[in-house]
Symmetry: C2
DNA sequence: GCATATTTAACAAACGTTTGCTATGATGAA
DNA sequence: TTCATCATAGCAAACGTTTGTTAAATATGC
């Protein structure tokens, strides 16, 4: 009757050698002669020995595991970030726990807790709540799109304010003047900063951001569609929409399609993120590009640094990448 | 100097009680009086005690963790399946390790190994290689789109052959006769079965599947685009394309757009999966719907059953859901 | 050939839990 | 009062590793 799972001790018994030697041989540490090392390696291989990472983690206090919490894995923005993270992590022999909060603060907190219990080495988080809730966390934490006033955590993100500025300025340059804005969540920090950028652009044109024309929707196609409906039904004239992400912009486009509003003549639309579908010939959404995959890679790389230098308290890092305007066919030529 | 992480022993010391009592209290087991139980719970809470799941897993031999290996997280087909899996797992207090093989057999194998080492309770796998490689695995294994001749593993999937049949029959009913097929990978079992269904439909129309008109591409938009190019440049007349997934079909559409081929008059296109973008008003791709999210939920639920009944060897389960044809505007009316 | 340095390997403690067993004290029956 | 019963709580082993320390064996220097 073979054991469920064969351990270091089984190999040791088979070879009549102590298990400390097995451990050292397997980990390439010194203190074993080449001869016994080879013998051990061979036998371990032959017996199909697989180290138990739970036990390893317990003694090493390193689980080679990180947690990733995102609100929505089906939004390609997060999908691509996660792709970057998994690639970077597997290059470093790390595994990731994927947690999808579904925009629920409660679930996010629960996930955070179980990750702590799983003793992950670090966490990469896009919070839907308040980052300050995580203030006294001891494990390394990377923030996607941070905005904690205290700047307690490392973060990697695109310059959202500048992105919002680019998008809005473009609409204005195209001659649109009655801009509506569709945000994702009331207190999403990235949205806030994109709006701040928008305001800047408007001011350059002697305009001002009308709070009435900023609709709170949700970060999804359907959310964009209903928000667009609300926007148009307010009665105020609208000739352009800045959707805070591509999904929202896609939803707005859908609404215009349904109601026969012609794009880009009657109304111009610009999104944010540049998800892959935005570039399809049938869509060709004008949008602000974010280097999502690279963002993911950097998030992991920076987290890993943090993990390695856990001891020395270095100043928090805030890495900012540049967004880029992609002009396509949902805005008219200047 | 507070300890890095506070343990059961710290709580015990604080309370002057043995740690077995702590454990029993925390786990709601009997053998502790209500009085001490309350005292313990309160103190654990106050000290911010977080159980160590590594230690727990070590003794319980259950890690409350499952591994998921998919080829590509940015294909919404897998994205939605994973969403279903994560939702189901979090309902059951499980965490998932997300592994993205990038269609590489080597990476898939490596991931599989590390998952074993992490002592996951089970694995959900879409293999890009041969399932028989996993023949003598002891841990519960769920297969996405299985085709192991020996039927050794449980699986949940859509009836691919029927789906292929539906798509092809639809093209024929619309009057298209010169069908080209774009497959994802040479030996992808789902593709094979979709083609078998296609063959059946062709035969009903007295036609036969011409191997020359089956192109091996890759499961991506770009893959679909170049495969479509190849298909048309073969010189044989083509008036319809069945892309083995929506990404491929989208790529074919893109090629047609670039070369001025009009859809659906000159050429009809049908895809497979019904990813959310296929339904956008600008796209409206005719395709075969798969209930992806539900697939994910069932995959996890079935795996969990397996985990719980690990002992008794039950016959392998093969759950098959029905696909559904979504007729939209990339095929002309009958 | 002897003392010493060095390599190799074994022992045992530790990591943070769970749990079977035992000891203690209280309770109840006779 | 005495004995059996029972609820409560403590002890210690176990899970599968890593690693500091010690012991044995071999090699080195004179």
């Amino acid at each position: 009757m073979s054991p469920i799972s064969i351990t270091i001790k089984d190999v040791a018994r088979e070879l009549g050698v102590s298990y400390s030697s097995i451990s050292r041989a397997l980990n390439g540490k010194e203190g074993v002669s080449k001869e016994t090392r080879d013998k051990i390696l061979e036998m371990a291989e032959k017996m199909g020995y697989q180290p138990n990472d739970l036990a390893r983690g317990l003694v090493n206090k390193i689980s080679k595991t990180v947690g990733v919490i995102v609100p929505d894995i089906n939004n390609p923005f997060f999908g691509e970030i996660v792709a970057g993270i998994t690639d970077a992590s597997s290059e470093n022999e790390y595994n990731i726990f994927l947690c999808v909060s579904g925009w629920s603060v409660k679930r996010e907190k629960e996930y955070f807790n179980t990750l702590i219990q799983k003793r992950v080495d670090g966490i990469i988080l896009k919070s839907v709540g308040d980052y300050n809730d995580y203030e006294n966390i001891k494990s390394p934490l990377m923030i996607i799109e941070r905005y904690d006033r205290n700047q307690k955590f490392d973060s990697v993100e695109v310059d959202n304010e500048f992105g919002g500025y680019l998008a809005t300025k473009h609409l204005l340059e195209c001659g649109y003047r009655k801009l509506g804005f569709i945000s994702g969540r009331e207190d999403d920090s990235a949205c806030k900063r994109r709006l701040r950028g928008a305001q800047k652009a408007l001011e350059e044109y002697g305009l001002t951001l009308n709070k009435d024309l900023v609709i709170e929707g949700s970060f999804s196609i359907e959310g964009g569609r209903v928000a667009a409906k609300q926007l148009f039904e307010k009665g105020q004239p609208i000739d352009a929409i800045f959707g805070m992400n591509d999904l929202i912009a896609l939803g707005a486009l859908q609404y215009c399609d349904e109601t026969g509003i012609s794009i880009p003549d009657e109304v111009g639309v610009v999104g944010f993120d540049n998800i892959s579908y935005a570039g399809l010939p049938q869509i060709r959404l004008t949008t602000v590009h974010q280097p999502k995959y690279e963002l993911g890679k950097m998030l992991f790389a920076t987290l890993l640094e943090e993990i390695h230098n856990k001891e020395e308290k270095k100043p928090t890092k805030k890495i900012i990448l540049n967004p880029e305007l992609k002009i396509r066919k949902t805005t008219r030529a200047k």
